[in-house]
Amino acid sequence: MSLLEKSADSTATWVDDRLGSSNFVRRSLNKVFPDHWSFMLGEIALYSFIILLLSGTYLAFFYDPSMREVIYNGSYIPLKGVAMSQAYATTLEISFDVRGGLIMRQIHHWAALLFMASIVVHLARVFFTGAFRKPRELNWVIGSLLLILGIAEGFAGYSLPDDLLSGTGARIAYSIAMSVPVVGTWSAFLLFGGEYPGTTIIPRLYALHIFVVPLAILGLITFHMMMIWYQKHTQFAGPGRTENNVIGSRLYPVYAAKAGGFFFLVFAVTAALGGLAQINPIWLYGPYDPSQVSAGSQPDWYVGFLDGSTRLMPNWEFRGLGHTVAFNVIVPTVVLPGILFTLLIAYPWLEARFSGDHAYHNLLDRPRNHPVRTAIGTMSLSFYVVLMIAGGNDIIAHVFKVSVNQTTYVLRAACFIVPPLVYVITKRWCLGLQRADEELVHHGIESGTIRRLPSGEFIEETVPLAVPHRIMLTGVESDAPALAGPTAHGAEGQPKGPGYGDAHEVGAGGGGKRERVRGFFMEKRSDSTTAAARPEATLPERELEKTVD
């Protein structure tokens, strides 16, 4: 036994003597995590949050969230002698007078952008594969809350330096709060301690940014992870993979090495960005002054969709009965995100209600096998992307030398045209992919060998699909599989329930409106055309051997 091995042994003994935790530890070490690249997208969010905590702690040692006016006397020459808030002055100090302060600031900001981006990517993965279905609805809700909290946390952080750009953002936030009917002015005055700008908003946002919101995020992440741990990760269909097991690497050592390595890779990417790509150059923006503004004032990307919806909104306002209601403000910035986030959170229950699928799911759907869900997802994403593009309409107009007005008109139209178009295209595409899969499953792979039949007809020989590949496509391990529909496996891992098999049958059953909705929702290609041409049910064993991957 080498020294290393001995110490591993003695550590286990030492800990167990005190905690009696051997059983738990061993079970944990043996926990199996499925391997798929897309399962690591959520890890990016977790790791960037850790990076945020580390870099943020460092920044907190130097930053002072005070709106007291000071005269700058640091080393950035163009601002020497300029009056500014203490918050801005200390941010400049971090950037220019603290060794390594600038890279920490930049890592912190890049990690924040990465945190939000990876949440969105992870959310998309969970959505398109149906990982939010029973029993994981709660984790979907927690994830959605994390997205919303992340936006709030990011916005608070963006405001802290009190530079010209962030001050403009804070002013817009104040104006949005003001626009809410009845309680608007009250809430805005409560938040800002009086009329804008006041002297309290930065310290308050600081308290939220470093304590309240991160704590909430940390708590939710913990819960998120515990649920994954307890429920075990979902997996894609494949050889041996059923609803009742999980196949992959054990936590220790393989998965831990991969995940730990990935943490450092995420950190390396943020470090590279932090060192090589300048972000939020507050010294160029200058200190905040309510009478100044810069062209191209934008929020960070994750608020961009709200900025975009505001830019696209027509100028509707209700004036009368002694009151003013600014629809041009509350619709794009309060009502729209309210609806979007409510739908997002409610989606698992909406889908279960309309599809009638209330079964447990541990096997994931391939997006193509659930065309309606996939189409809803891409439709929503395209709407979101159009809004986000609209948030940068002036930069787009400037860089591509087009009219900002035309850009706005086009994007307004795109808001209504693109999402339905994307929906239809996605659905068609999914059905097409299903057809291709069906060909593969039933006819095999084209071998390239052309043979002439005695009748004179030319046919191409096909090679039956490798078994693991076929299982991946069909989701079942039977020899004569139908293509999997949206996987509605029962608890015993047997395909059953509506949606498995031909959904048109479900719809055509004539069971009233509910049934028709269900049929629509679980739509998949009809299998009947190819059923007749199905090859031998059992494959020759020799062939099988050759094609096992």
């Binding site: 060794r99 390594g100 003001m178 002015t185 390595g261 950190f267 064993e541």
Partner: protein, 415 residues
């Protein structure tokens, strides 16, 4: 279901790679072992794969017989479960079973390849070490103060590169290590059903019900109601705290008024007043009220524009401009950004935040964008010395809309 076996034997029998690992060497295991190409589940795949009947394992790893025993004992650590303390856990979660279903990697059968992998991992770790050294040296010794001398702007990029090396080396090294040297296993673990068994559920429900009965809450309505009153009202306790956050102000007045009064001079940011001879045609000036902290007030910023008097087609009221000098609140009526993009030929005023466009030569009517109302005009005149002064405050609240803003009130100017 698994039988206790000698751990070492189980490991080498079922999962060759971990065995190779633990002996420390990279012995070529080009002799595939039964069960290597098997799947865990007692499902159809394995049956199908097995169907040609037991074969010798020489060379062909597929379709080889599956020895149920090998299979079960493949993970000695897992087998310890059987002796574990938590019986309930055992029944819920069966043991993880490791099974090789892949072709062996090159590293598993070729010691040279394994050695090469080890070298690659080591090289990455060494790179990491060099990155750390570079980072520390740069951090401590490199000149960093920006603008003091040329080249100092490389400080942060250098730190970034070294940090990337340090972190990326460890990260990539660990991944390569895991991928090429650690066992290439596909471990199988059973899921445990989430629901408890019916007895458990009903017992829990019963316990809850009993406890409730013991509190006597269902029977004593007075108690029930006062509990609701007492405990429920606790939720209101923190509400008054909220009001310390902001002042109890007469909001309508605060929001309606700015610092402009009759006779207050228009001054620049540096405090100098604006004379009627100062500006040329097509000129603009950001001006503020000449009152204490007037240049800092968020609601008082005004944009003074000079155009040809004949170009000024309309204003918000007669006599509010002076010879083509016209002044508008610079605070956007949409979301409050300062509107200062003035196009001197088209007389468009553009807000950079959301592209609301106003016609400065037509009383600032809205031409484009989300703003719903014109920028309020400030009535100006010229004092005896030729300096611009305000005729009074704005005739309406400046800036964004809010609920209490009364659109029909004339907001008589504070003259």
């Amino acid at each position: 279901m698994s039988t206790p076996m000698d751990p070492q034997g189980g490991r080498t029998g079922g999962a060759p790679t971990p065995g190779a690992q633990s002996t420390g060497g990279q012995t070529p295991t080009n002799e595939p072992i039964g069960g290597q190409s098997s799947f865990d589940a007692a499902g159809s795949v394995r049956d199908r794969l097995r169907s040609p009947g037991p074969q010798s394992s020489g060379g062909d790893t597929r379709g080889s017989a599956i020895n149920e025993g090998d299979f079960e004992q493949s993970d000695s650590r897992a087998d310890l479960h059987e002796g574990g303390r938590d019986e309930r856990q055992l029944s819920a979660s069966r043991t993880p079973e490791a099974a090789e279903i892949q072709e062996p990697r090159t590293e598993d059968i070729d010691p040279a390849a394994a050695k090469a992998a080890e070298r690659l991992v080591s090289a990455l770790f060494v790179m990491s070490f060099l990155g750390v050294v570079g980072f520390i040296v740069t951090y401590i010794f490199a000149p960093f103060q920006y603008g003091v001398e040329d080249g100092n702007q490389a400080y942060t990029p250098l730190l970034g590169i070294f940090m990337m090396m340090a972190l990326g080396g460890v990260g990539a090294g660990a991944v390569v290590w895991a991928k090429r040297l650690m066992p290439d296993e596909e471990a199988v673990q059973e899921r445990h059903p989430f629901g408890s068994d019916p007895d458990e559920r009903s017992a829990t429900g019963q316990a809850l019900k009993e406890g409730l009965g013991q509190t006597q809450l269902p029977r004593r309505s007075l108690l029930r109601n006062t509990v609701l009153l007492g405990a429920g009202s606790l939720a209101l306790l923190p509400v008054p705290l909220l009001f310390s956050f902001g002042p109890f102000q007469h909001k309508e007045r605060v929001l309606r008024e700015t610092s402009w009064r009759q006779g207050v001079r228009l001054i620049r940011q540096n405090g100098t007043p604006v004379n009627r001879d100062d500006m040329q045609l097509g000129g603009i000036e950001s001006v503020f009220p000449d009152v204490p902290r007037g240049t800092k007030a968020a609601d008082s910023a005004v944009l003074l524009i000079r155009m040809r008097p004949e170009e000024l087609r309309s204003e918000q009221a007669e006599g509010w401009s002076v010879d083509g000098y016209i002044a508008y609140s610079a605070i956007c009526t949409h979301l409050g950004c300062p509107v200062k993009l003035y196009e001197q030929q088209t007389h468009h005023l553009l807000c950079p935040c959301h592209q609301s466009t106003f016609a400065a030569d037509r009383g600032c009517e809205v031409l484009f964008g989300p703003a719903a109302r014109p920028l309020p005009q400030l009535a100006i005149s010229v004092d005896d010395e030729g300096y611009f002064v305000a005729q009074g405050d704005f005739d309406q609240p400046v800036g964004p809309s809010y609920w209490e803003r009364n659109p029909t009130s004339s907001y008589g100017r504070d003259v």
